[in-house]
Subunit: 340 residues, 3 copies
């Protein structure tokens, strides 16, 4: 870890914008960091440096894993909640993104941003905000989950599959299933998983009820990734058939295409609608159709809706490993993009 890496200053908004080689290098560093967690090789990388975290949305895992990642690299993460800040919005006076980013360039070594569907008026505005910061900031902008993407979750997922299925994921099959539930969740985790698993050479399947279609561009990119790897991409509206022979089963709720209307998110309507699809739960019976598949989920899990306790706490569930991986991949990303 001597000198600035070629990654220095690089933004991470989605893994789709990094090369496959960069993603593999990041995963390998994360794996090394897991094995030698508090080694002096790593604990000085961000010594006395500060990483700024903007939480437009609160979070259990993301706050802990980023704040601890900075600590374990010898640095410090600042927990900032922009709701209590005087940043300009379209209706209020305040500081522009240009000015805010201009100062942060002088203070910190990186800026993480988390902004999900309930803090924006329309799908895509969170992604726009990150790209506006990226335009004015020299320091790297790291998505800590936003409406479209969740790159650190995607890396953590793959790190889990590499551990349990072997480092070459080529030809393995992952199926993503919509789960019914009471949380009206973001599209970001599942969309990132589709992108990065297809980049890694996996066959990718997606199943959801009608009305829960995902981002068109993400679908196009995933198809393109599969085409480049000679693997298959399949879409389905059946809650069980895509389990067949799958190596990884990913079950997660996300909100419908009708979640927004009139520039507003109708969260309660979403929850009521989603709770009706009781067939859309990952259970032992469906898992039997898989190839002794791993159960994957970005946590927190909505047990008894997205998945049964039996599966979530079962032998093939790797959710705790994946949650732990968040820490390691984020340390790797921070070391590569912010370390000198």
């Amino acid at each position: 870890m001597e000198g600035k890496s070629k990654y220095f200053g690089k933004d991470l908004i989605t893994t789709q914008e990094w090369t496959k080689e960069e993603l593999i290098e990041t995963l390998e560093l994360a794996e090394e960091m897991q094995q030698k967690r508090f080694s002096p090789e790593f604990t000085g990388i961000l010594a006395y440096k500060s990483f700024l975290m903007f939480f437009y949305n609160s979070s259990v895992r993301t706050r802990q894993s980023f704040e601890i990642a900075a600590t374990e690299l010898g640095g410090h993460a600042l927990f900032l909640e922009p709701s209590s800040m005087r940043l300009k919005t379209k209706d209020t006076a305040g500081e522009t993104t240009e000015d805010a980013a201009g100062v942060m360039n002088r203070y910190g070594v990186g800026l993480g941003i988390r902004i999900l569907e309930d803090k924006i008026a329309e799908y895509g505005q969170g992604d726009d905000l990150l790209r506006e910061y990226a335009k004015y900031a020299d320091i790297p902008i790291i998505s800590m989950a936003h409406d479209r993407f969740h790159p650190c979750q995607g890396l953590a997922d793959i790190m889990g599959y590499r551990k349990h299925l072997g480092k070459d994921l080529k030809g393995k099959t992952i199926t993503h299933l919509w789960g019914h539930g009471a949380l009206a969740r973001s599209h970001c985790s599942v969309q990132e998983s589709m992108l990065i698993s297809s980049r890694m050479g996996m066959n990718v399947r997606v199943a959801h009820p009608k009305g829960y279609e995902l981002d068109d561009e993400v679908l196009e990119w995933t198809k393109k990734n599969c085409a480049e790897n000679g693997t298959s991409f399949e879409l389905s509206n059946d809650p069980a058939e895509t389990y067949d022979d799958a190596d990884v089963v990913y079950s997660r709720n996300w909100m419908s295409t009708e979640a927004y209307s009139g520039g507003e998110l109708h969260k309660q309507d979403e929850i009521e609608k989603a709770l009706k699809y009781t067939d859309w739960i990952c259970d032992e019976e469906k898992m039997k159709r898989s190839n002794n598949g791993l159960f994957s989920h970005p946590m927190p899990v909505d047990r008894s809706h997205e998945v049964t306790d039996e599966v979530a706490s079962g032998d093939r569930s790797i959710i705790l490993d994946i949650a732990e991986n968040r820490l390691h991949v984020q340390k790797a990303v921070m070391a590569l993009t912010m370390g000198e």
Copy 2:
């Protein structure tokens, strides 16, 4: 401080669950840490490690003393407010304690929890929550004050008495007096004090108006502790008589047995009721009946209700020493249970 201690991973929910020898060892380490506050012997103990703090209730002293304790051991404490987290409650979807604890095992070296009467529907539920976390967490669960107990306050109290009365407290007398006031305070501090002072061989007295009875089990344990030490335990409803010949006078408000009804805490009613008992204040006149007694209080003090300014700021008041001790005992507890 080499290798894992026999305390490694041990929970601290009440001092009653640690042996007397363990408590004495902890106090001795705290005293050493006070004398050599920033010694390299101690500043590396939690280097690059993270302690998670869950504040269901906010706090002046506890936040500062735990966050600074982690800092002085070379580590980092995360200030987390579960009200803004997606943890499951009986009425809402969210993450289970099993899942939350499972991930924290991977991220942190310990978990502190603070949950007082106004955040629960019934006395005892805070204690239940800590024990549920303890069931699923491998890392130590440390009470940062909860409805029943406040072990770090109890240790800080005793550290103060050891300084001012000598290390052998055997046969010394402490009296706990209810104080009138406008804060409807938790039972945790006074109950912990009764338990740990009786363990240390002190004669224990408790006085309060009728209707302010304390936890039955705590009373039983205190009597048992006194019996084992051959010391006396006395209960009274008189605001003055238990001062007689006391070496330590502890005056503090706590809420009544009627504070809860219908699964709800009636804080305003409590305050109105408590303010009527104007005799229940620790003042110079009553202090004259004591054996030149020390004035003890866990702070923050409700001056002119629980105690007069004259006593609280007087020569025999050791409240600032005790507040300072919180830092040292918490460093000792963290070093013993989380250090490697």
Copy 3:
């Protein structure tokens, strides 16, 4: 940096209360710290020590710059929001300043306080609160901006002028202009600027519409400072004439003398009134009257009200340098007053 400096334990409530020699020494240390930002000479100064920050008002810049300053000196800053604390106010039970300060003396190495006009009932109460803490605290009290003063901003401003105009500011001219706008801002930044620029030997001008008069005592002190340096002090109600031959143009909104009535701040009325003075904006045309003047502002900037984009983002704008300087001067102040 060996041994305690003569500054050890010194409060910083306004630069007017430090000698000119002390201010110059602080600026020189800040300049050295900027050049050698992460040098081991500085990163151990507050090792394992804690700086307490009380944010009665939230802030973008001040939080980041103080928290990062502590980090870069090897220490830790605690972000505390007293609204969620049990401190005594005139109407509620709670802890007294005496008790709160007494404990903080034992825990931390310094206490920063931010309290602006909207958190007090009358102009001057913020300053009173800092002085009450200073009375009971042995550790230094550092203003992080309060109703009357903002010493760290004043030091950052001067550090910027020293960089761009040379270290000897004697005889240079600074003009402070009220800016119209929608934020009803505090008097603290402009008042501190008047005080410190006059101390440094600059000619000082102030222009504002009638009704926006500043603190009488600050005006008297500024005149006295100018008299001692043989420089000029001018007041005006014209939005353009004070630009003539100025070396520095400082444009910033502040609230009127009628902002308070009946012990209440009428923020909305202030904003409506201020927005009518559309002549009071710093633009290219007015800047042409200056001596190729620098544009100065404490940020965040209310663009298109206080100043045009053209000026704020122009070649002569040094606002980002000044914002960066906040970090360096605060590190210098903390090192001098809290380092051992």
